[in-house]
Symmetry: C2
């Protein structure tokens, strides 16, 4: 049945590596950006009489980056024991200097500068020298991650990380950010370390079960890790046993990686790693929706100006509330998603089994032998103007049929979307107005916004490209 | 809160009794019919040299009948030890003679004659003298029931039985026949015996719980009766401890009696016993359906010529199968009922949440980590022409969306109603043809058949008349 796919995989790997490995030119560009930032930081540090060390972190430092990921992390490291205020104020001043003329402020666990220089997004992060025992924030851990990986990786492993990252990208699960809920670059590196290679990782993932717990350093010995961490995938961070390096991986991303890995092993193909990237035709979306008889509802609001992870956290919370609201009004929600250009618009997408319900809804009351409950039920509904029929006895219960407040989902959204407890940021946009879109309205929006068309098509046609 | 309703109930009782107690004329007519039958049976018995005794049974014998129930049970009783063949053949010959010129054969546990004489339906039943220890059939028990009640009842109790029967009629639960699934006349008598009066019965039923077990003769002492009989209401037959005299009472009838009893105690009204009997206007049905946005589907077939209880058994079995079929095709069945004139037509009625579904239906597959099941699922659906979308991973499962065979309930009925394993009797009618009715089709049928209009209105507007 299963022929050895080794040769096919080796061929795919070298083909993909040729595409994704940074070229000499890429390396030169990165080096130039780093030198430029380091130089500016050093000058400012001297001017301010601050003793700091500039260090490159992340995938560029580890040489596990792929050429399409143009992110550089530069840390400005103060000596151990530097007062927090000095790092916060002085550090930020140095970072701003490093960013040159144009930068924006970012906040993760503390402030940093994000600059766009020479084709790279450069994060310039003030930090303190830290020893392994006193890790507190993500910033503290980053330099240790860089060191941990650098010390253990050779050329082949770096290549395999690039391949694994590209595989994750191809199937849509690359990135620990909330928007994706997938596998971080560091997690990809740890998987290569754990399983030795790309092929080893894919083969292992093919056999993963409902939950998987990995502990490369053997921090936990006998303890069942599932009792410590509550995630489908647990990868104990080698440099900090309290942290699950796979905490961001959602069940959807975890299951998708398992499913795609198994599929890839059975039928290796470059399309897993390099899916076709054609422009989405709105007519394709219309066709996919109409052949399934599917109904998609969209709600478009303005986009709050907040950092990406905060935005997506708030968007997904609101999305969950919208789906819950629809369910409470008896609409069957088949799928939900959110899209944003992180600039102008956020669109909530809800696929419904049907967008219209009949006038009446059946409401169950108590069993007939519960005297008090029956009296209360009858007293409540006997003369209620919302009652369309009943009360009546069916089986052994009282029932009543009430007039729905909303018989169509669009009307429900018009009436209630503004009241469902959005975050303050989103609420500010909602209160400026929102648009409920369906049918033509969605297709028109897809015509205007390319990225949105793709999101809508993903809902309209769910079969993933890697499942040929 | 609760004022004593005694005076009101007493007033209702005398008003209702005046309506339902047989008049002198009714008694004279009944006596004349009985004498006529007895005379003819005696003559035939003499001619055939058979020694038999003719005895009136049932509510006429017990004097618990109400004037609208014009049923007379006449038993032709052979001496104990008469061979079975003699009873079967000779008895039936006598019964036919008793029926005079026009009769039909009925079968319960054995054959009897049903004749329509002088405005009464007369059942003439051959039977054997039997002692209490050797009861085998319903026929054996009947004379003992008559004796048991007659010995214990006085005038007031007979009146209270009439009132209770009329109450059961008014709320639609009078009759042990399958069509009704309610309270037999004998059960009404036993309830009056158990609780002493109509008021006592109503008060007791108001307090009945999920199950009620009554054992007037104390046949069972400590044994929990629920372990012996599997019914919501258990009334151990005083003359046969193996029999539940309330076995016919469905959960619906049981709960309706409880609910109506409680309601009657709170607000006594003659309408419980004598509901308004206006002709049903088809426009009333249309209005009730349209205000609820309800969809009712009907299937009309010819009526098999079989005894009533056999017909209704078969009809209800088919009705259950129709509802199951609709559910299997994702239609939400809100209510179901059957109607028949027991002559020309049977109509199955199904109330649906919606009569139309979209083109696609979501079909869940295995969780992604079940390797074999996944392979089988993908192999099955990857190139299936019914697949509209997928396979795809959602949450931790594989799914696929398939094209429905039927997107509307009427089409499903047209296509499948003929194949759902009806009884032989019904199947013979179905194979001659059937009609699927909805909207106007149903209203037209209601216009043509008065009894059907009432059944359809009961589905369209479920609030019972007694719940003012």
């Amino acid at each position: 049945m299963s022929r050895s796919p080794n040769a096919a995989i080796a061929e795919i790997k070298s083909m993909v590596l040729a595409k994704v490995t940074p070229t000499e030119e890429d390396y030169t560009s990165a080096r130039r950006v780093i030198d430029e930032v380091a130089c500016r930081v050093a000058a400012e540090a001297e001017a301010r009489n601050l003793r700091v060390r500039v260090e490159v972190e992340g995938s560029v430092a580890k040489d596990t980056w792929i050429s399409t990921d143009r992110d550089i992390d530069i840390f400005i490291i103060f000596p151990e024991g530097t007062p927090k205020e000095v790092i916060t104020e002085g550090g930020l001043a140095l970072a701003k200097a490093g960013g040159g003329g144009s930068w924006t402020l970012g906040y993760a666990e503390h402030a940093y500068v994000e600059a766009y220089i020479g084709g790279f997004t450069v994060d310039i992060v003030p930090a303190s020298e830290v020893s392994a025992g006193r890790l507190v924030t993500a910033v503290d851990r980053t330099p240790l991650h860089t060191r941990f990986i650098t010390e253990r990786f050779d050329e082949r492993m770096r290549d395999d990380v690039r391949i694994l990252k590209q595989f994750m990208k191809g199937i849509g699960v690359y990135g620990a950010e909330l928007k994706i809920g997938g596998f971080s670059g560091y997690l990809c590196e740890l998987l290569i370390l754990q399983y030795g290679s790309f092929e080893g990782t894919i083969a292992a993932a093919s056999g993963w079960g409902e939950r998987t717990a990995l502990d490369y350093m053997g921090h936990y010995k006998d303890l069942p890790l599932g009792e410590v961490f509550d995630s489908p995938l647990i990868m104990v961070d080698p440099i900090d046993r309290r942290r699950n390096a796979a905490a961001a991986v959602t069940r959807q991303a975890y299951a998708t990686f398992i499913a795609a890995s198994r599929r890839f092993l059975r039928a290796p193909a470059a399309e897993f790693l390099l899916p076709e990237q054609g422009a989405t035709e709105p007519s394709e979306i219309e066709l996919a929706l109409s052949r399934r008889g599917a109904t998609v509802l969209g709600i478009e609001v303005g986009c709050p100006r907040v950092p990406s992870d905060i935005l997506w956290g708030e968007v997904y919370r609101s999305l969950g509330k919208v789906a819950k609201l629809l369910g409470e009004h008896d609409f069957t929600v088949r799928d939900s998603a959110a899209w944003s250009d992180e600039d102008e618009a956020v669109v909530f997408l809800l696929e419904l089994e049907s967008a219209e319900l009949r006038e009446g809804r059946v409401h169950a009351g108590p069993k007939v032998w519960f005297a008090e409950e029956t009296e209360a039920f009858l007293a409540k509904y006997e003369r209620d103007t919302r009652v369309l029929d009943g009360p009546y006895v069916k089986g052994d219960r009282w029932y009543v049929e009430l007039k729905r407040k909303y018989t169509d989902a669009a009307g429900l959204m018009e009436g209630e979307f503004g009241r469902i407890g959005h975050s303050k940021d989103l609420m500010a946009e909602v209160s400026k107005g929102f648009r409920v879109l369906s049918g033509r309205g969605l297709i028109d929006l897809a015509r205007r916004k390319e990225g949105f068309a793709e999101a809508l098509l993903r809902m309209a046609r769910k079969r993933p490209p890697w499942l040929r």
